[in-house]
């Protein structure tokens, strides 16, 4: 499917339909304090060009609803994305066919400067378990048509679901070839588990992309203010493969650290900046994140945002989306990989936080779904790097917060019959792990599986297994796979079994790499544990 397939006649038809829709327009609350230079720009106004440069997206599917997203940015690297400094009207349509002959929902939304002209329409009244197409129109320009899918009806028996797990897409580290292949998988949803952007400044040559056109000067500084985070999202979304992945599949997103700053923890910055300053930075970063993801309203107001949430896919699967960044204490012992130390075991240090932890375990206990997924940022299972003969652990992962790690793993052990499946990102490597009742005892009970998806691009071309990767394999018997090439995991669920396909591309320093399955595993429902497929 591509927008090129929409015939002009359909566009004319759509325009007629737009003109005849009445009663759908909601009153638009315009800001009243716009400066003198603000000029009116309704849907009939002229823009500096096609405003749909950043594509379209959908996400957080419910049985009767899905969020559809776009952002108006005719000149995405210019201030305000090249938009006039006033709200614009965007019309939208949702249809049951990709030629929009059967439009079932439509309406208007305001694209406001306060939200970088993004629109997040929570389209309600849809049928469960059904594919839809959607598109937007503004100032005479028609967006590409996106494809999305609602969740199955509550309680419905579902034969099959496919989720793609992706994370870590540093733009200067290479091309998003993995996203091109992910888009073609036609998954029911993408679970994106963090590091959608990296905050770092980007050199003129675009890093490993070695772009023909220099990356504009305004990208040289690190993203730390709202305008600068917005620029970063615009650059990332300039990649056609990322836009394709959004356009073809609804996404369920959560963040990790780089959406704000490398390895921040709660309100503690990497550089221990004054809390007052970092609070402002976090608020700007959270706002920019919301603006660019297909998330429901309301937008974040200030430095806090409730991102953890639960989405249900009939009786087959429930997805618990976690946020282990916003509520955590500072990393133990100065962060990085460290031997065991008292601080990491301090029970007073939150990670997900007591409230989220209770929400997670209570929800899983009530779940009626066969498979219960945790969309998780950093590795939850124990991982021993064993540098120089001593057990060493990642202070930024669950291993750095052992009290909560223990508490959640104990909780999952009690919910073993719910088939816990933790899907994770962060480490730029494919790992497949049995979650053990006692990681020190390989014969102890397996309580679930953790599927760590490799990065889309972070880390560049990658290798099959590095020296560190071999070290992990040697010291963690519950670890069944390490592969450090770029890609994603495809998780196929049926009432009887889970099949996980680790997919990777051989290079990303130029476009066009083919994708191959590195390894596949199965997990039998009711009997947690990985089996080579």
């Amino acid at each position: 499917m591509s927008d090129a397939e929409i015939p002009r006649a359909a566009v004319r038809l759509a325009r007629r339909r737009f003109l005849t829709v009445t009663g759908a327009a909601t009153a638009l609350a315009f800001a009243t304090n716009l400066p003198d230079r603000a000029r009116a720009a309704g849907s009939g106004g002229t823009l500096a060009g096609d405003p749909f440069t950043l594509g379209v997206a959908s996400g957080d599917p419910l049985p009767d609803a899905v969020v559809i997203w776009t952002r108006l940015a005719p000149l995405p690297y210019e201030p305000l994305g090249g938009m006039p400094y006033t709200a614009a009207t965007v019309e939208w349509q949702v249809a049951t066919d990709e030629r929009f002959r059967h439009v079932v929902r439509s309406g208007k939304a305001a694209a406001r400067p306060e939200f970088s002209y993004s629109v997040h329409v929570d389209v309600r009244g849809l049928q469960p378990g059904r594919t839809y197409w959607y598109r937007f129109r503004a100032a005479g320009h028609l967006s590409p048509a996106g494809r999305t899918r609602t969740a199955p009806a509550p309680g419905a028996k579902v034969d099959r679901l496919t989720f793609a797990v992706a994370s870590c897409q540093s733009w200067p580290d290479g091309y998003y070839t993995a996203h091109r292949h992910l888009a073609a998988e036609n998954a029911d949803a993408v679970l994106f588990v963090g590091d959608y952007i990296y905050e770092y400044g980007i050199s003129a040559s675009g890093g490993l992309r070695n772009t023909a056109q220099p990356v504009p000067d305004q990208f040289r500084t690190e993203a730390d203010t709202l305008d600068r985070y917005r620029l970063q999202y615009a650059l990332y979304k300039s990649d056609p493969d990322l836009r394709a992945a959004h356009q073809n599949t609804p996404w369920i997103c959560t963040w990790d650290d780089h959406e704000v700053q490398d390895n921040y923890a709660g309100l503690v910055s990497r550089t221990n900046a004054p809390i007052e300053d970092f609070t402002v930075r976090r608020a700007s970063a959270y706002r920019a994140y919301w603006e660019h993801m297909p998330l429901r309203t309301p937008a974040p107001q200030g430095p806090d945002y409730l991102l953890y949430r639960r989405l249900t896919f009939g009786r087959l699967a429930e997805v618990n989306v976690l946020d282990t960044r916003q509520y955590r204490a500072d990393q133990a012992d100065g962060d990085l990989w460290k031997p065991d130390n008292p601080e990491r075991n301090n029970p007073a240090r939150p990670f997900a936080g007591a409230q989220q932890r209770r929400w997670l375990l209570d929800g899983m206990r009530r779940s009626r779904a066969t498979w219960n997924l945790l969309a998780n940022q950093v590795v939850m299972s124990r991982m021993d790097l064993d540098a120089s003969g001593t057990a060493t652990y990642n202070m930024d992962a669950w291993d750095g917060y052992t009290a909560e790690q223990r508490s959640v793993l104990d909780g999952l052990a009690a919910l073993r019959a719910r088939n816990p499946v933790v899907v994770t990102g962060d480490v730029h490597a494919s790992y497949a792990m049995d979650i053990k009742r006692d990681f020190a005892d390989p014969d102890s009970q397996t309580i679930g599986v953790e599927l760590v998806g490799t990065s889309i691009s972070s880390g560049g071309n990658g290798v099959e297994v590095s020296a560190n990767g071999r070290n992990f394999l040697d010291h963690n018997p519950h670890l069944k796979l390490v592969d450090e090439r770029r890609g994603y995991v495809l998780v196929e669920l049926t009432p009887r079994e889970l099949r996980a396909h680790y997919r990777a591309v051989p290079y990303i320093d130029r476009p066009g790499a083919p994708v191959a399955t590195v390894r596949s595993f199965t997990v039998e429902a009711g009997d947690p544990g990985l089996h080579r497929a």
């Binding site: 800001a31 989405l311 071309n461």
Partner: protein
């Protein structure tokens, strides 16, 4: 087409997703026509739109004027102090308009601003080398506030050492920003003890070679010698952290030519001499580091006629 109603936004919190869905199903079961809740985007207004009073924004700078040297890599600018003197938090925009041909690193600064908070942002001001010297004005505005910042553009400095690489356009395959920009290798500072403080280029693609560092001349130059200073200090000796292998290339007639190859280097400074060649650009293509598969590190790169 079902009846469409517009309504107030109902904030949908994660904890209530399931309950709301159930409620929607009950509505359908009762035969109520499907209700479309159009997301009322304006209902969740930013703080400044929630009241009728315009936000009380403040603008200031740390200097009363900016002196600008019109060459690439010049470090010059000002700190913008963007404040909220009001009693409630806002999301606000400050525009930084520079008259052509001047440019600023951030023509727009947007931020969340709690009540009483002042954001401090460094803004670089640049001018191309053909900018007429004289007085210019940068205009800052936010809300109803406007602030004028005078700029004095000086003359292009003259290099008296014969180093053809000073004050020219530079680029690199990648830059480890913000600490190790390409400009750091053309700042006239060869001292490796200043590494990580003020001087030197370090690429950003760990383990990936080749990398390259380039200077593009404003007009064709005769180049017969290139001096490369790689990282070499007591803490970071060249034999352990410096460049080992690289090629020196000149662009002549649009094509790159390799004029010198250095292999197995362990010294902090290497002079490469070759027959003088008229070139539009010089680049060093790095092939290996003494540290192994990590980074390329150049403290200074200089070009001379002979």
């Amino acid at each position: 087409m079902p009846t469409m109603l517009s309504g107030p936004t109902v904030p949908i919190r994660p904890l209530t997703l399931v309950r709301r869905t159930a409620a929607a199903l009950r509505r359908r079961a009762l035969g109520v026509a499907a209700v479309v809740l159009l997301a009322a985007f304006g209902a969740v207004a930013p703080a400044q739109a929630a009241t009728s009073a315009p936000p009380d924004l403040t603008l200031a700078t740390d200097v009363d004027h900016v002196d600008v040297t019109p060459v690439p890599c010049a470090q010059q600018g000002f700190q913008l102090r963007f404040g909220n003197a009001g009693s409630s938090a806002v999301y606000a925009d400050a525009f930084v308009d520079a008259p052509a041909p001047l440019t600023v690193s951030r023509p727009l600064v947007s931020s969340y601003l709690p009540a009483g908070y002042t954001l401090k942002v460094q803004i670089q001001v640049s001018a191309p080398s053909d900018t007429p010297p004289g007085a210019y004005t940068i205009t800052l505005h936010a809300g109803s506030r406007t602030l004028l910042l005078p700029v004095r553009v000086g003359r292009v400095p003259v290099d008296t050492t014969g180093n053809l690489a000073r004050y020219q356009q530079v680029s690199a395959s990648s830059e480890n920003l913000p600490t190790y920009p390409a400009c750091g290798a053309f700042d006239g500072d060869r001292d490796s003890t200043h590494w990580a403080a003020t001087t030197g280029w370090n690429d950003a693609t760990k383990g990936a070679f080749p990398d390259w560092l380039q200077v593009t001349f404003d007009h064709p130059r005769q180049v017969g010698r290139v001096d490369l200073y790689t990282l070499d200090s007591a803490k970071y000796p060249a034999a352990a952290y410096g460049l080992r292998d690289w090629n020196v290339e000149l662009q002549a007639g649009g094509a790159w030519q390799t004029l010198a190859q250095v292999r197995g280097n362990t010294a902090g400074k290497v002079e490469s001499t070759f027959p003088a060649t008229t070139a539009t650009a010089l680049r060093v293509v790095t092939l290996a580091s003494n540290e192994g598969p990590t980074y390329s590190r150049i403290v200074e790169l200089e070009a001379y006629a002979a």
